[in-house]
């Protein structure tokens, strides 16, 4: 297939909080190529949407991606002038408000007439009753993951597919704002619209889904989250180029990035990202298709160019997945450092004292104590692993984490770490603490006939 027939699908953000200068090289590369293309922004983690609902409740003009203007603003004019549609789930809990902001940014950039579409229908909080739905066990025993009253829901959003995104683009949208959609749909939508793939053309839909799966975490396929010095080195990790997939009509594609950027694209970076957050590699479920990567072939065909072929697809699953959020527990964390001679023994004594103080005060919290620098993230809450510290550590940081249904006992527990500054072992310093109200999520399966997605163009 001739180069000019390829569609360039780029990614400008892989999560809320990603590098805000990342989209520039992607848009520049697509624009200079002279080929058709689009750019996606994925900024919506599982809990982000519930935080958006809370923000929207406090202010009806909020609830979308807080960094939207910083992320999209700098590339908006170039995208519009070069015919590069922008697709993003940055609408979060309030896609119409995100669209209004983008409209304002476009006007300020001298582009008064762009067509912005909003995908609606993912927010099912007002239309469903939890008793009618089946809890999805695919998350396996998220603690407290059982049914709760519908009235306590903070957010309930179903993962929509790519069809509404494709419809919006076919109707001339230059920007498509969504709330919750399956992340890969942000790429599959523009690809299906461009190539005219049928919605039962499973192999093509699966290929577009794999493109989206590889792009959805941004630089994680181009050298981000990859460097392991001396083992897997990454050139210029401070300037990693975000990914661009050159997709052919048959669904085969080349994963690459803009010339002159840092990072790398290799069979190794692509393999790590193919399997990222994947369970059964023969059946990765999405709203549009069941993706099968067990027969894919990866080939390095040039510097920072990996060709992907052999993607298979199977019919779509009967139900959609929804994430429902509820108010969760209070999580408190506090840390304090010990350094120099006998640091380890002093940190251990500090942890021991904290445990005794919480017991003495009978604070109703679940707790965990870590010795950061010696043993923390690999251990259980009970501290079942043996400390393997052969010699003295230069520095150790004692950490307390507590969880409770009420805020007060959590704060009282953290206050015990503060009290170590006077009452604890010698030489403790650098105490920091924070309390947060967590959001608890439960996944449900929603019959497709209970969901009515739609596309609206903004006036």
């Amino acid at each position: 297939m001739a180069d000019k027939d390829r569609f360039l699908m780029g990614c400008g953000a892989g999560f809320s909080g990603d590098r805000i200068d990342a989209p520039v090289s992607v848009v520049g590369c697509i624009a200079r190529s002279g080929r058709p293309g689009a750019i996606m922004f994925e900024t919506l983690a599982e809990r982000t949407l519930a935080l958006g609902q809370v923000a929207r409740r406090d202010d009806p003009t909020k609830g979308y991606e807080p960094l939207l203007a910083e992320l999209v603003g700098p590339v908006l004019p170039d995208c519009m002038r070069n015919g590069i549609p922008i697709i993003g789930n940055f609408g979060a809990a309030n896609p119409p408000a995100a669209a209004a902001l983008l409209r304002r940014l476009a006007r300020e950039a001298g582009l008064p007439d762009i067509r912005i579409a909003v995908v609606l229908g993912d927010d099912i909080r007002e239309t469903i009753t939890l008793q009618d739905l089946e809890v999805w066990e695919g998350d396996t025993g998220l603690h407290g993951g059982t049914a709760a009253p519908t009235s306590t829901m903070v957010a309930a959003n179903v993962y929509l597919g790519a069809r509404q995104i494709a419809d919006a683009l076919l109707q001339g949208a230059q920007i498509v704002v969504t709330g919750r959609v399956a992340d890969p749909a942000l790429a599959l939508g523009p690809l299906a619209a461009h190539f005219g793939w049928g919605w039962e053309d499973w192999d093509r839909l699966a290929a577009g889904t794999l493109v989206g799966h590889l792009l959805e975490c941004g630089s994680q396929v181009t050298g981000g989250y990859y460097a392991d010095p001396g083992y897997k080195d990454v050139p210029r990790p401070e300037a990693i180029g975000f990914p661009i997939a050159e997709v052919s009509a048959d669904g085969s594609f080349v994963m690459t990035k803009a010339p002159g950027t840092g990072g790398l694209v290799s069979v190794r970076t692509v393999t790590e990202q193919v399997l990222y957050e994947m369970h059964d590699p023969a059946a990765y479920l999405t709203p549009d298709v069941t993706l099968d990567v067990t027969g894919i072939k990866l080939e390095e065909i040039g510097p920072d160019r990996v060709r992907v072929t052999g993607v298979r697809g199977w019919p779509l699953p009967p139900s959609l997945k929804a994430t429902v959020s509820f108010p969760g527990d209070w999580l408190g964390e506090a840390e304090i450092s010990y350094a120099g001679p006998n640091a380890m023994a002093r940190a251990r004594l500090a942890a021991d004292v904290i445990g005794r103080r919480i017991d003495m005060r009978r604070l109703p919290v679940r707790r965990r104590l870590d010795l950061i620098g010696a043993l923390s993230v690999f251990d259980s809450d009970q501290g079942s692993l043996a400390l393997e510290t052969a010699g003295e550590l230069a520095e150790v940081r004692m950490r307390l984490a507590v969880s409770g249904a009420e805020r007060l006992p959590v704060e009282q527990s953290l206050q015990e770490v503060l009290a170590l500054l006077c009452c604890g072992p010698a030489g403790g310093g650098g105490m920091r603490s924070r309390v947060q109200n967590r959001i608890r999520t439960v996944s449900y399966l929603v019959p497709r006939n209970m969901v009515s997605p739609s596309v609206e163009f903004c006036a």
Binding site: L275, E277, H279, V293, S380
Partner: protein, 120 residues
């Protein structure tokens, strides 16, 4: 043929991701020669042993010869995941390197070439 014991990290790379209370870790051979060693030694039981202390109930190993990779899916290992975990790493993302710390046996004849294999 004599063999040396080295961390899996010498012959494989990988990445961890979470979905709820379930963790997946990929283990990818640095070269075709190393793939049979990984296939033979990185078993469901041995991986389970690395996570029993955190309450893991099951490990399923998916084999992808086309990618010279294993996908290890570990159930109930994240103390409830982002809903309720007290672990500093609520998503469990550091655990790729717990798996890569597993000791494996590598034939002596391959040892001098491991660094070259990693460079690819």
């Amino acid at each position: 043929m004599s063999a040396a014991t080295v961390p899996l990290h010498e012959i494989a790379h990988g990445r961890a991701g979470d979905k709820g209370n379930r963790l997946n870790v990929s283990v990818i051979a640095y070269s075709a020669e190393l793939w049979p060693l990984i296939l033979a030694q990185v078993t469901e039981d041995r991986v389970h042993d690395l996570f029993r202390h955190r309450g893991a109930t099951r490990v399923v190993r998916y084999v992808l010869p086309n990618l010279r990779a294993l996908n290890l899916v570990i159930d109930e290992v994240l103390e409830g995941g982002v809903n309720s975990s007290l672990n500093l790493d609520v998503h469990g993302k550091t655990n790729s390197f717990r798996v890569l710390g597993m000791p494996v046996e590598v034939p002596d004849a391959l040892l001098p070439r491991l660094a070259a294999m990693r460079r690819g």
